[in-house]
């Protein structure tokens, strides 16, 4: 009953609410994800944890690429993407989520401009009309790579690829951004600069955003909300005010977080390679 009351409260308040449960078979046995957390409107969260702890699976459930066994995915009161109890499961292509995959997943046969406009085109992604070209160009210019429109993904650098992927995700006017390790494919210097740029962009767009990372520096920079993952269990840590706590202290606190070191979880969930 209390859970129901709480759910109603979230509903009323119009919060981003994610509650997904999914068991998948792996080579090493079953892996169970139980991820429940809520964020304030326009909230930003970092999903932090080791590889194979269920972070990407959570994003896939939110994006609709994987159907959870049961649960709820809600962006706000009027926008329910998935609700197993109510029988709602909007297909990925109608969810309007901006999803940026690991290593960006740019379409290698399309130019930068055609990549960005892909969400606007039909069966001929190479034929852009004036309006589509203009929109792609505006996004590319906003991200400072307007001059790359005619290049192929193989002809641009890692940092530029990240911006193209971001522009492509933003082009369909998403209601939430899901970024899967946006910085891991970049060298450390570039990583720092793009982190700042992305932070400013997100603040300007006021989009809710889930960022997967296993870099404590990302956590220190972004985390107003931190979701810790361990072997499929999610734990919401909302202890941070990134403007008040120095980055290194936050990193230390994070790495010492009791949840990540507790042995209880091991007893409940089988380890996943």
């Amino acid at each position: 009953m209390a859970a129901l009351g709480l759910a109603w409260l979230w509903y009323k308040e119009g919060l981003l609410y994610i509650d997904v449960h999914k068991t998948v078979g792996t080579g090493l046995g079953a892996f169970s994800l139980h991820s429940t957390f809520s964020l304030p409107e326009h909230g930003l969260a970092v999903l932090f944890g080791a590889s194979g702890s269920g972070k990407t699976l959570t994003l896939h459930c939110v994006a609709g690429l994987v159907q959870p066994d049961y649960g709820t995915v809600r962006l706000h009161a009027q926008r329910v993407l998935y609700d197993s109890a109510a029988g709602i499961a909007i297909p990925a292509r109608h969810r309007r989520v901006g999803y940026m995959a690991q290593e960006y997943a740019l379409f290698p046969h399309l130019t930068v401009e055609q990549n960005v406009a892909y969400g606007l085109t039909g069966l001929l992604p190479r034929c852009l009309n004036a309006e589509q070209r203009e929109k792609a160009q505006a996004l590319l210019s906003m991200l400072g790579i307007g001059q790359l429109a005619k290049r192929l993904p193989s002809q641009i650098s890692g940092g530029q690829k990240q911006r193209v992927a971001l522009a492509r995700a933003l082009c369909v006017q998403p209601e939430i951004l899901l970024l899967d390790e946006p910085f891991s494919a970049l060298d450390p210097l570039l990583r720092r600069r793009l982190r700042v740029e992305l932070g400013e962009l997100l603040e300007a767009l006021r989009l809710p955003c889930l960022i997967i990372s296993h870099d404590p520096d990302d956590v220190a920079y972004f985390a107003d909300n931190l979701i810790l993952y361990k072997q499929g269990q999610a734990h919401h840590w909302q202890a941070f005010d990134r403007h008040a706590v120095p980055a290194h202290e936050m990193t230390e606190a994070l790495l010492a977080a009791p949840f990540l070191h507790s042995e209880e979880v091991d007893a409940v969930e089988p380890a996943r390679g």
Binding site: A63, L65, E103
Partner: protein, 224 residues
């Protein structure tokens, strides 16, 4: 003296049969490959085996099955007969035989090529609002075309030389169902060595040309 038409008639018939069979197999084989790629389970495994079967079965066995299906008293054949379509002893029957024979070549290479396409690209397209059909046409197909194309060229070359199943269904009627391979057999049986040699050379040259041009086209335009 050798009549010019003794070469051109079977040659043109072979080209027509091989081209049509390749076209049908391309649509069916690529579609089936798309449907089965990344599907796991018992039923897809059985369908996969059935799709690959023509590759290993003797052509005569295929021909026998085809007669059971599209023959005058066959399951489909009797229905087609009522529509006035008769596949037995007609060049259209040769197309059906060749289609079944070359189908696995396109199916297996398309499936391998489609499975190679990075799943994350398709996922990205899904979140960008693309339907499965659109993803197939705008991503999977263009990214897998090299492998599919290799299968298509192989199928065409194989279709040119189809013999066993064609013989059983379409027979060996000069100027009607006699393809290159059948004409060679015919000429050899009649002791017409000049005709046989010429047909063998034409067939070999054509198949080499197909395979070489396939190689050249596949090497053209790569993206990193």
């Amino acid at each position: 003296m050798l009549e010019w038409s003794e070469i051109t008639v079977p040659l043109l018939l072979s080209l027509r049969v091989a081209a049509l069979a390749t076209a049908f197999s391309f649509v069916l084989g690529t579609g089936m490959a798309w449907f089965l790629a990344r599907r796991r389970g018992a039923l897809p495994a059985v369908i996969n085996a059935l799709c690959t079967l023509p590759l290993v079965l003797p052509p005569t066995v295929l021909g026998y099955y085809l007669i059971l299906v599209v023959g005058r008293r066959g399951v489909l054949g009797s229905a087609l007969g009522e529509l006035g379509i008769n596949l037995i002893f007609s060049w259209q029957g040769a197309v059906v035989a060749a289609t079944v024979v070359v189908f696995p070549l396109i199916y297996t290479s398309s499936r391998a090529a489609l499975e190679q396409v990075d799943k994350r690209l398709e996922d990205a397209a899904r979140t960008l609002g693309a339907s499965e059909w659109r993803i197939f046409l705008t991503l999977s197909l263009p990214l897998a075309w090299r492998g599919i194309f290799a299968g298509v060229m192989l199928a065409f070359a194989r279709g040119m030389g189809e013999f066993g199943a064609t013989l059983m269904i379409a027979g060996n009627i000069p100027n009607k169902t006699q393809t290159l391979a059948l004409a060679i057999y015919d000429a050899f049986q009649q002791g017409n060595d000049a005709r046989a040699t010429l047909l063998v050379l034409v067939t070999s040259a054509l198949c080499i040309a197909v395979l070489v041009s396939a190689e050249r086209i596949a090497a053209w335009r790569r993206w990193g």
